[in-house]
Symmetry: C3
Subunit: 137 residues, 3 copies
């Protein structure tokens, strides 16, 4: 059995930003030498999510607009009583599904035509890590 761990770091320009990370995951998979297995892609911070969906700018705007409509950033939250302002970020990342596990087949990510991996940053402008854990044979 082989395993490999990679820590990716992202520091977004905007507080809320969506970054495509498929290529970094694919590179980690190839470097691992794993031919058949699984790769976990998990943000190590709890105001961000890793999401598989479409590489389409309009859809990304829709996601952010819907999250803001359902859970407005500026609402009154108990979490923000502690001096934070990011309660909504914690909720959004759960609603988006915060992590993904991807299949590795024949040494590559085994994704459908439109499956792309994204880092959804909901409280950025600072360095944050995404853990990539590969396991297989």
């Amino acid at each position: 059995m082989k395993t490999k761990t990679v820590y990716l770091t992202y520091k977004t320009r905007e507080k809320i930003e969506i970054v495509r990370i498929t290529d970094e995951i694919e590179r980690a998979v190839r470097d691992s030498g794993v031919k058949e297995g699984l790769v976990l892609v998990n943000p190590m911070h709890i105001t961000a999510a890793v999401v598989v969906n479409d590489n389409e700018r309009g859809l990304h705007q829709d996601y952010l607009r819907i999250l803001e409509k359902l859970v407005p950033y500026g609402d009154d939250y108990r979490h923000n009583d502690s001096g934070e302002d990011n309660a909504a970020s914690h909720v959004w990342r759960q609603f988006m599904g915060h992590q993904v596990v991807l299949p590795i087949t024949k040494g590559s990510l085994d994704l459908g035509t439109w499956e792309q991996v994204f880092y959804f940053e909901f409280d950025g402008k600072r360095s944050k890590r995404v853990l990539v854990k590969i396991i297989g044979g």
Copy 2:
């Protein structure tokens, strides 16, 4: 270490439809010969979800009604400016949790009494694939 990959194909009659797939996953697990391990069940299309919940028709209606209420299919979405009409489908599949990882114990799915696996199709009437990746020993 053993691995096995199965691609299941679903073409639903309705655009929006919920299909129970527990038996197909169980069959893939048994065919794999894996006694202890994990199985990833991941839709390869980004307007569908794999969900573990109750095999109860009323609850399935509730899910669809709640998703429609929170994120109405017919609302105005930027994604639909590109000629698509399925922006809401992309969002629904995230809110439902788009994929599952299931435990394999003693050669079978290790599920609770009421845990059943479903394919939630949010943009159907065409052939779509679900990837089953089994890893273990």
Copy 3:
């Protein structure tokens, strides 16, 4: 390859309650002897979720308040026609992301500074199980 399966049992005092379970997962990982791998933490009941987020009481209140606002417990649901009253619990657990997969590195959970594991009980006061499945080398 090594694997280990642990069944944790929780019986909450309240119908809706959030329990921190990081230490139990860490203990299972150490007992497994797995140095590099993955651990699936999956509720075996379909009105509960396992969630990674912040150990902050205010935020937990926010989660419950938001879920109640978006999917009110007392609304009219088809699932509840069968004599149940917990339709909303089934939905909430999906919106929170019902399960997690965590990385194991050097024999321990490889978590970010603020990542803590919680059991979100949405229909408690009775014994319910959480399955911990560890796989790795």
